[in-house]
Amino acid sequence: MNLPALPLLQQLVVLLAALVLFLSFVLLAQSRLVSAIHAFAWQGALVAAVTAVVALTGDSHHLYFSAGLTLVLKALLIPWMLHRQVRRLELERHSETLQRPALAIMAAVGLVIFSSWLVLPMVAEELTFTRNIVAISLAVVLIGFLMMVVRQQAVAQVLGFMSIENGLFLAAVSATGGMPLIVELGVAFDVLVAMVLFGVFFFQIRESIDSLDVDRLNRLSETADVAVEDRP
């Protein structure tokens, strides 16, 4: 593909997608919780912007609606909820010590290369533009996974989860021009409910282990010989 050959608006989509990927890296390496939430909000705003630009280029009007939905949900509502919970859990100044941040970043770079390799066989003349965006969204999804693996803090894991959703939205919007409205509404509803439930769990976990470090949730495993008989 030749980037200069694309119309300006599609170039803008490519640019915004690249920025979404960058914010995934920021999320991965950001040890301060509040800053990570801000980065997540920006990522949501960028995905909304991509949706809006795709809506401008195409003729599917429901995309304007879904751009607005993404903006409200991903850039405003969920970050606000997370922010409030972080405040109520008194974690504003919390900053996690990352284990080997450089290694995580390098792994993420590896994931980007892997995703671009994975979509390479999708060869078709007209598809190149979207194929590359699919690679970027896949990378965002995989980096979200990586974040959930690397981070031990429950809120940070939720951020990883939500950034996976951002990657999925990006894929849906830029590769296919948006899913049907009813599906998008359903997905958005699921994400919102998931967020509410995560909020409930933050408090339950805190009550249970007095911390949000989910690595300390280790009572159930095949190797640990926990005395099951103590439980009714």
């Binding site: 690249a18 920025l19 990927l21 960058f22 970043i105 190149t128």
Partner: protein, 321 residues
Amino acid sequence: MDATLTPSAWLLALVQALLYLALAPLMVGWVRKVKARLQNRRGASPFQPYRDLRKLLFKETRVAHTASPLFRVAPYVVFVATWVAAASVPLVTIDLPTAVVADIIVLVGLLALARVFLTLAGMDVGTAFGGMGASREMMISALAEPAMLMAVFTLAMTAHSTNLGSVIDHHLGDAFVLRPSYLFAFAGLTLVALAETGRIPVDNPSTHLELTMVHEAMLLEYSGRHLALMEWAAQIKLMLYGVLVANVFVPWGIARDLAPASLAIGLGAILLKLMALGIALALAETVLAKMRLFRVPAFLNLALLLSLLGLLSHVILEVGA
């Protein structure tokens, strides 16, 4: 490029190289002036660095007893290497005989040569500060150089050439294109430039606070003519990075032929760009605080990441087979 090998073109190349010498102190003065205004001070005249240089040049030059000959040679090597490196970066026009050697890798090599002599000189006398500054400088540059090379390769891959002139020419030849790779390379290169020229938040050029200084620590033993050359080289380096960033990422205005009119436009354009960059730098230095030395690797890792992302987004998004 046959037309460029005429005597007048060679003359122009020489003038361009001399322009670097002449304008570098002014740029530093300009940044200081703007910074002073931002901090509600009147500040010295932008021409103050010229006066400082003149003063130093005519002062007696003292050398420590323990210094080896390397200590005396180093200022000249540093100065000449930096200057030659600067002269290879297109300033006003890309259509010059020097453009043939204006290869990015040569540029990086020349700067590395200057740095090696700078750090050797810093360690030569054997004072604590010199050695400390040298080791810090090496730590920063070891991290900054890969980032810079990566950013530069991103540009080179777009233009299919490591020649600066061709890169700029290619960029000018294209219509307006939104390249994510350029955005990342720009951000990465800017961070590298801040680190390499010893600006806030990596180093503070206007302090001699013993615990934090990097560049100044290596120059502590120099005086007179030697110090003037070292300072001048640092100023040229700042201007070099400024011109590099300005002309590669915002090349519009640079002359593509040797007609007097376009040369005049080119000169005006680069002066405007450098002024704007100077204001941006002063603003950034006013807003940001210097970071602790142990945070510097994180800063440079960010630069490396940005350059890497530039490379990746070029491969994935822009070429994409």
